[in-house]
Structure formats: C-alpha cells, structure tokens
Amino acid sequence: MSLLQIEKLTRNFGGLSAVSNVSLAVEEHELVGLIGPNGAGKTTLFNVLTGVYTPSSGRVMFQKGDKSIELSKLPPYKITRMGVARTFQNIRLFKELSVLDNVKIAMNHEARYGLFGALFRIGQYFKSEALIEEKAHAFLKEVNLDELAETKAKNLPYGKQRQLEIARALATGAKLLFLDEPAAGMNPQETHALTSFIKEIKEKMNLTIVLIEHDMSLVMEICERIFVLDYGKLIASGTPDEIKNNPRVIEAYLGDEVEL
C-alpha cells in the first residue's frame, strides 16, 4: 500500500474544476515534485489534501502504520495529528511570535495538562512546559535555527522564514510534508541552501515530501518523480528525464517562460 493514495479527486469552484479527476500515489520516503503552469490547481490540490477544502468527489487515503485512513473526511487539525503537515505558498508564520513559540505551537499536542492544569498550574503543568521548551530547543538545534530562537518570525530574513515554516511543519511530528513553492522569491544562494536543507531533513527524519515548485532546476535536481498538472488534470508523471521530454508537458508550458 502506498503512503498516500489520491483516488479520482475533483474540486470544483462554481463552474471551474480546479482539480479534476486526479489519481496518484506517493510511496514512503519519496521526494516527489508537483509542477504545472500558473493556475493549474497545484495549491488547490494541497488544500484538499490538508483538509482546507473538502473534495467535490473522490477521496484521499493515507497509510498510518497498518491502518488506512481516509484523510478527506478529516478537518485540517486532525490531518496534521495523523502526521501530515504543510507549508503555504504565501508564508503563514505566526509573525508576531518568536521562532521558539512558532515551534512550540506546532508541539502543542505534547502538553500533558488541561484547562485546570493551566489555570492553577497544577498536575503536569511545570513538567510538561519544561519538556516542551526543551524539545523545541532541541528541534531548533536540529534544523539550525536555535540561535534565532528568540527572534520574532517577522524579523527573520526571507530565506529563514521559509526555512522556519518547513521546520514548524516538521515540529508537528509530521512524516509526510507538502511544501508549496518553498523556493519562491529566493535568490540562488538561498535556493541552494534550501535544497540542501530539504535533502538533509528528509534523510535525517525519514520524511516523505511532495513539493510544488516553479524553479525547474531545483525540481529536476532533487525530485525522484514528478507529477504534472494542467487545467486541474494530471497530464504526466515520471522521472525528471521522462518529464523533460514529454511532449504534453512541453505543450502545456508552451508560451510560459519556464525552461524545462
């Protein structure tokens, strides 16, 4: 069984089929790319996969241990609890909060006390808070952001914000990550640093990653397989070399400035 199985997924907005009858599967520990021209439905697909939108039809199955879970029936926060997390095309950090607090919020499920524990600081409160603090710092060390722990997210340089967003998604304990244009707006050095960061965390934390990206050199360099969407439909899938030479893909991108 594949880790993620998308079956005949459709999402309509009025008369528009932003995602149209898409079926695909992602295997454990893969790094796959999702590409396509602007408006092809890539972000919409992520939004359906993470529960922001419900599918108009079709379903999404996720393998957790030996259980098969229908993600498309769950609200976003429960999908995250299953070990599936994402980043956003237009960064959505908790801007006014520190890097540390951004990560702590992702680790909120680790708290072992309820409302009364919080209000009166009884039970596991102190132990639990100390543990979360320690885990958050350890996690930030692992993703090389610990020196910036006290910095407000909005004051980070752009590249670091993107990096923090990935780190925050990981801090939820996710094993499957959806990254929506992680290199958008980055200069070549930042893109390079990000590429090695993604590779590094993937190996270190045994992740499965699906990433949307317009930067073709990045996609071709790190993705093992690539899916191509156009007008909501899956028009091709295969290795980077196969995709580069696929006539339908070339046609879809015709007129775009993207170099394949």
């Binding site: 006014e96 639990s128 998604a169």
Partner: protein
C-alpha cells in the same frame, strides 16, 4: 516545586502584599475617602472585565461586542441571592450561579458561531447581550426594568483585591500555557494554526467561555458595590467601555489592560465635575491615543518584574 518559589515570583508576591497593606492602611487612616474608595472599586471591577475580554479579543482575536451581557448575568445572580442571603456566603453563591449561567449561555452562543471563520461572533454577541437585557427587563425575579435595589453592600478593599489578584493570576496563567499559545496562534493566523494541529473551534470556545465566566464574576462584584442593578446599565455602551480598555491597553497585553483601566479610572475622577464635556474629552483622549499608538499603550508586550522591577510601585501610587 522550585519553579514556583523562584526569585521573580517572590518579588511579585512581596509587591502584591505591600500594595494590599499600604492601601488598607490608607483606608484605615481615612486618607482614602469613601469617594476615592468607590473609584478604586470601579477600577478593580473594570480590570477584571478588561482582562476577561482580553482573553477573547486580545489573546484569541475574536471580536465580542456583548461582554456587558455576561456581566449582567453575574450582577443579577448575585443581587437575587443577596436579597435573601445578604452575607459573603450569599455573594459567593451568587457568583457561582452567575458563572454557571454565563458558561451555559456563552457555550450556546459560541459553538455555532465560532465554528465559522470571520466576525460572526461580534454580531452574535451583540444580539445575545440585547436578548439578555430584554429578558431581564421582563423577568419578575430580577425586578423587571427597575431592576434590584438595596442590595447588601459587601464590597471592601480585601474582597476586591482578592478577586482582582485571582483574575490576574488566572488570566496570566491562561495566556502562558499551551492553551494560551493555541489561542494566540488563532489570532495570528487561523489557517496556519489549524495546519499546526490546533483544534481552533475548541480553543475559541474555551477562551470565550473563560472570558464570559470572569465577566459574570465581575458583574456580581458590581452588584454588591453599587447596591443597585438595572438591566439597562448593561447595554452596548458598557460593552464598548470594556472594549476600550482592551484596545487602549494593547490587544493581548494583560498589564496594558490594567494600566489602561487605571488611566481611564483617573480620567473619570478628574473629569467628574465636568459631566457635560466628560464624554467629549474621553473620546478625544482615545482618538489621540489611537493616532499616536494605534497598537495601544503596550502593544502585545507585557510589563513584568523581569523587565521593570519598579513598575508596580507606580501602580500603588496611582491607586492611592
């Protein structure tokens, strides 16, 4: 338990104790007059109201325009009980009943409205506060439109101080917990919060009910301070007055709300003789603040003993 008895907490405890005894002494020596005392009670009750609304608006980012409605529930619950049982026990029973009713009403309002994203809560709370007011206006146990008068006056500095400190303790703990962080993440970005595994509806409901319960408590204290309650004292004007404290002090800043309440309490005293122009000046001051500090006095920052060990001394002077 070394966490509890660290240096910071000890300093805070000492400040809390000193402030209490200084004001107590000033009252005993009659340096603080009965008129001043009534103003101090006003400030204390509004600190509780401001802090409670801050949980909803400042911490969780949900606009509520009906806070006075929950206040009135507590006010009438205490008034009714105090009529038959004019003792501290009666007051505590009244507070308990008010808090329970307030929790029930806020739950009924919150669950359908807070599942939605957007400012539906503002409209719903506005409506609910009006419904509460109209119900009270027509309810015979609460005296209808004329309300309840000659309520046993049990308010005292120790009583007020206990409840204010309790509220600061609870709201501070709420804010600085995993629950508080969840609420803050909702204010920052609801979609991102949900994507981080936060059950946003649950935390919005918790924050709203917590705020509503504290407001009811403040309402009960109001009854026993001013010995008369009328449904029309808890209209939208009162809700806006509470909202102003939160906006003026800074959304999400507890110390900001406290300072703002002091300042507005003092302004009220100073402007007392000029009743006609009081509202105009009041509005003017707010407009000026909003122009020069739109984020409120403290923004979302807190003053703490860690940053400014002398700060709370100033508060003592202001209240004396």
């Amino acid at each position: 338990m070394k966490n509890v008895l660290n240096k910071r907490n000890l300093i805070t405890l000492v400040i809390i104790g000193v402030l209490f005894f200084v004001v107590q002494l000033l009252i005993k020596e009659r340096i603080i007059t009965a008129y001043m005392r009534s103003n101090i009670y006003w400030i204390g009750i509004y600190i509780i109201l401001g802090l409670s609304l801050n949980m909803i608006i400042g911490i969780t980012g949900q606009l509520s325009l009906g806070h006075a409605g929950f206040m009135s529930i507590g006010a009438f619950a205490a008034a009714v009980v105090l009529k038959t049982n004019p003792t501290l026990t009666g007051l505590f029973i009244g507070i308990g009943i008010g808090v329970l009713i307030s929790l029930a009403v806020s739950f009924v309002v919150a669950v359908p409205t807070l599942r939605l994203k957007g400012d539906y809560l503002a409209i719903a709370t506005l409506g609910v506060a009006e419904i509460i007011r109209i119900v009270l206006n027509n309810l015979s146990v609460t005296g209808g439109a004329s309300g309840i008068s000659n309520i046993k006056m049990l308010m005292s500095w120790p009583l007020l101080y206990t409840f204010v400190i309790l509220t600061i303790f609870l709201t501070h703990n709420f804010k600085n917990s995993a629950i508080g962080r969840a609420c803050i993440s909702i204010k920052e970005d609801e979609i991102a919060a949900e994507a981080m595994g936060i059950n946003t509806t649950k935390y919005k409901v918790i924050a709203f009910m917590f705020g509503a319960a504290l407001a009811a408590m403040a309402g009960s204290l109001f009854s026993t301070t001013y010995y008369i309650v009328k449904p029309d004292s808890f209209g939208v004007n009162t809700s806006i007055n509470i909202l102003i404290l939160v906006v003026f002090g800074g959304m999400g800043s507890l110390s900001g709300t406290i300072i703002a309440t002091f300042i507005i309490g003092l302004v009220n005293i100073v402007l007392q003789p000029y009743a006609e122009i009081r509202m105009i000046l009041y509005a003017l001051i707010l407009i000026i603040v909003m122009i020069f500090r739109p984020q409120g006095l403290l923004g979302s920052q807190e003053l703490s003993t860690k940053l400014l060990p002398n700060f709370k001394w100033k508060r003592k002077e202001k209240s004396s």
